[in-house]
Each structure stands twice: as structure tokens, then as C-alpha cells.
């Protein structure tokens, strides 16, 4: 309708001596100055979506690039296992196969979704519906395909012998401690934005958590990771935690811990100390 109105106005103006380009320029100026609400024009807005756009949205590049990235990721994960223990050729092959299985499982879901997609000129509603379907797959790819519930990690547990597994788990624990320390600094800063801490308070807080908190084995994206670290505040003795803060400070800290408690437990696995 907007198009028809625009067309008829344009025709009348051209009869009166307005050139098409002047009319167009006027429209641009009017819109750019914000005199016309954007949603009026958005009625007619369409988005061109093709297969390569789909790939870039889900995989951050082409399928070939994404598969190369996955191949590298498997090498990085197996190198990590090998850092803890010597793998036999057979074990290594099994892990590579399992890693490849995770990748294929993902690409199977990706291809299935792609085959269901309608490409071409999409309305905003169609685009939004498409995005709703693409988004979980994008998140899954960005988070990595070899986390704790992956075929690769399950195969590590079933393929390594007792001695190897112990060494691997020890390496994982040390990695978990290292990462937790880094995340903890951030979570403490989030609290300090509202209630700054003294050197003594900061030291006591980080010492208590590093010593006694449960260690997450997987963090997810940034937001989830912060919630998770705040959740770990609930896994230390609460009287010891509360003793670090004054009463008014504790009301602030408690709010953070409550948020962590309610949001930090999704998709979680823990590293046993």
C-alpha cells in the first residue's frame, strides 16, 4: 500500500515538474531527519537471504571454513589429552573418530535445518522466524562441539586406562582451577562495582572461594559463566562468606549470589576436587 501511495504521489509530482531523483532525495531527507516513523517503511522492508548468508550466520563463515575450524578444535582437544598421558595409536584413532562424530552430528543438524529454510526475499516476520531456528545452532557451534556431554569426552573416559584417566582428570582439575581463578576476578569486580572491597576483604573472599568452592568444568558463554561463578558462592560455608562483609555490604553481595543461585545451574557439570 505504501508503495502504491508513493508511486501515485511520485506520478503526480512528476506531472507537476518534479524529477524522480528530487522526489527520492526528499524522501531520504525526510526519513533521515526522523520525521517519518521507521516502522511505516518497515512494512515494505524485505531481507535477501541465501545459503551463504545462512552459513555465515550459523557458522561464522563457509561450511569449508567451519569444518577446518572443527578439525583444528579436535587436534587441540586431543593434544590436551596427550599432555597428560601417552596415547597409543589405537586410542588416538578412537578419539579422532569420536571428535569427528561430534562434528558430523552437528553438521547433520545444520544440514537438516538448512534444508527446511526458505531462501530468497523474506519479510521481517519470516526473517525473525528463521532467526529463532538458527540461533540455537549458532550458540551450539560457538560454544564448541566437544564439551562434557560430547562423544569425544565420553570416549576419553571409556578409552583411557585407569592410570591415564587419573592423570587426565588431574590435568582437567588444574585447568579448572586456573580458569576459575580468572572468572572469579571478574565476578568479584561485578560486586565491587556496587560495593568496593578492601584488600583484606578481597583476599579473604578469593582465598575462601578458591579453597572451598565447587569447580565448574564447563562455563558456557560469558553471561552464563558469570552466573555460574556467582552460584559457586553458595557452595562455600555461608557463615564464613558473610563474615567477610559488613551488614550493608552483605545485602548487596547476597543479591548477586541469589541471581547466581537461580540462573547458574543450567547445563552444568562439576569437576571433583
Amino acid at each position: 500500500m505504501i508503495g502504491r501511495v508513493g508511486l501515485s504521489c511520485r506520478t503526480r509530482c512528476m506531472r507537476n515538474g518534479f524529477s524522480g531523483s528530487v522526489w527520492s532525495l526528499l524522501l531520504v531527507v525526510v526519513a533521515a531527519c526522523g520525521w517519518v516513523p521507521a516502522d511505516v517503511f518497515a512494512l515494505d522492508q524485505r531481507i535477501q537471504m541465501d545459503e551463504s548468508n545462512f552459513d555465515r550466520n550459523v557458522l561464522g563463515g563457509t561450511e569449508v571454513e567451519a569444518r577446518n575450524k572443527c578439525k583444528n578444535a579436535i587436534s587441540v582437544r586431543i593434544a590436551f589429552v596427550e599432555l597428560s598421558c601417552q596415547l597409543t595409536l589405537d586410542q588416538r584413532k578412537k578419539l579422532e573418530l569420536a571428535g569427528g562424530g561430534d562434528v558430523e552430528r552437528f553438521f547433520c543438524a545444520y544440514k537438516h535445518l538448512k534444508s527446511e529454510m526458505k531462501f530468497g526475499s523474506l519479510t521481517m516476520d519470516e526473517w525473525n522466524a528463521m532467526w529463532q531456528k538458527m540461533s540455537p545452532l549458532q550458540t551450539r557451534f560457538q560454544a564448541g562441539l566437544h564439551e562434557h556431554d560430547s562423544l569425544l569426552m565420553k570416549t576419553v573416559s571409556s578409552t583411557l586406562d585407569h592410570d591415564q584417566l587419573e592423570k587426565f582428570q588431574d590435568l582437567q582439575r588444574r585447568r579448572a582451577v586456573g580458569l576459575y581463578g580468572k572468572y572469579l576476578r571478574v565476578a568479584v569486580q561485578m560486586i565491587e562495582q556496587q560495593a568496593p572491597l578492601t584488600i583484606d576483604q578481597r583476599t579473604r573472599l578469593t582465598d575462601l572461594l578458591l579453597e572451598k568452592a565447587d569447580l565448574p568444568g564447563y562455563y558456557g558463554d560469558g553471561r552464563q559463566a558469570i552466573y555460574l561463578v556467582l552460584y559457586t558462592f553458595t557452595t562455600v560455608p555461608q557463615d564464613e562468606l558473610q563474615a567477610i562483609f559488613s551488614d550493608i555490604e552483605w545485602t548487596v553481595v547476597e543479591r548477586f549470589v541469589r541471581v547466581g543461585n537461580s540462573r547458574g545451574l543450567q547445563n552444568m557439570n562439576w569437576i571433583v576436587r
Binding site: 555465515r56 593434544a79 560454544a143 550493608i248
Partner: protein, 311 residues
Amino acid sequence: MSGIRTWMFLVTLMSAFAVAPTADAQNPFGEMFRAVGNIFGRPAAPPKPPPPRIISMKGIEVDADFSNKFTAPLRKMLNAELHFVRKVCEPTDEEFAAIYRRGIQVVAKMARHYETQEQAGQRANTWELPAKVFLRELPIEFSELLTPEKLVRYTTELEARKKALDDAARGMTVVAIDADCFFTPHQIDAVDQHLQENWSQAWSRNHQMYMYTQYMPLPSTAELGDQLTDAQAKNWSARSNRGRVSFGWEFDFGAQNHIAGNNNGLPPIAEPAPIVNEAGQAEPEAKSLAEVTDEELAEYEQAMELAEAEE
């Protein structure tokens, strides 16, 4: 018909851009093209992040009651700082009243400064973080209002807070890279150390940004030196770079708290009543350190020694 449709699409794009709040007045079209590139998957070259603009409080002359849109969030931050001064320095009522008034003046100057930057079209994500400005300016401003001993305690604590802020930025950078590179325990510390030695202020952002790691400014493969293995370096080079995104000044300011909410900080400190003497007259302000005579300083040191001996 197809001509008018093309123009309508362009107009829509322009109008959406015109009505959307943005601080990117320096290069609006660059931002627009990057946004379009993100939607349609064409990776645009990320702009080189500019260094943060450092506030110089010198030369900013403004009344203490000056106020603009930046004043309210800055006052909230000042409130937390005033709680901190109380906790660390345990000032007398007279000292605290003077500190409070000076804090309000600092906020007025900062509000004026940020307004000037905004009017000059500088992007909010290039402004120096208010949290850092407070940490740098408050000890200077309060130096003449606190006793030397209290001032030493205060500056020591603020230095530690500055370090903790930088440590957090570095820590989050390490874990953001780890998401793609899966570090060994040794690498976690080695990369942290490397970043400490080669830190770029362009990687420091308001820490609310850490909740959205995909938009964090992160070092390139080259900037990480030889810390990564070949496979890790390939993974890190292949990541999508989204450039330096601004979510608006409130976000970049640290005025929003995405976890605990914006209004859940420490309780507001009321303005201290003016100190009056027995005759009901307002007491003069505390002397600045420059005004203290040698005799008064000697008297003070003697009193301190006596107090220590009594303890």
C-alpha cells in the same frame, strides 16, 4: 516500480539509522555498513580501536550544582566511593562533610567533561571509564582533606582496586580466548603473564561487557605472540571479529548492572549537615595540607605517636 522499491528500502535503512540512538557521530556510515554486513554475513574489516580518552580534571570549571544526564549515574558511583572512604579512612564528621562536598564537585566536573565529549561526537566506548577516573582523581581531590596517615591507607587501597580492575579485564580476556583455544593449565598463566606485559588499554572496557564475550575487544593472533600452538592459532585467527561495538553510553559508562539491577547498590549517603559551633555558626572548612603549619604538623605527629603508644 522496482526503482521506488529500492528507494523505499534505502529510506527505511536511513530512517532506522536516523531514529536509532547512536554515539557514532564520527563515522555514522561506517557503523551502518558494519551493521548491514553483520546481518547479511559480509565480514567487514574491524576498525582499529582508539585509545580511551583520558579526563584531565584540570581546567574544567563548573559549579558543584551543575547537572546533566551523566550526573545521576556518577552520583551512584560516588555513593559507593563515599562508603569506601568511610570504611577505609574512618573520617571524622568534619572530614567526611568536606569529602562529601568535594566528591559532589568531582562529579560535576566529570559530568561536564563527558557532556563535552558527547557533544564533540566522540563515541561512548572510547571514553575513559568513570570507575577509573574516580580511582585516579579522588585521592588527589581528597588529599588535602584527610590526615597523612588516612591518606596513605586510602591510596594503598585504591591502588589495589585499580590492579584488581585490570586483573579482571585480563582474566576475562584469557577465558574468552580459551573458549576457542582450550588452554592447558600452564598456558592459562602464561597467556595471562603475556597479556600483563603487553596490555593495550583498548582491551579494557566496562566489565558488563564481559557478559557478552562475542563483542569484547580481544587481542589478535599476532598480539598473542608465540603463546598459541599452531592449531590454536588457526582457530583463533578464524574467529568472527565483530569490531568495537557500542551499546550506548549507559552501558559503556558502567551505569547499568546486568546482574543485580541498577538500583541495588549500597544505601545512599545523605548530605552531611554543616558542622556548627556552640554559637550556632558554621565551622570553617578543614585546612588543606598546604595550609598546615610546621608546628601544627609536629603537634599532630606527637598526638599520633601518643595514640600508638597507648595502643
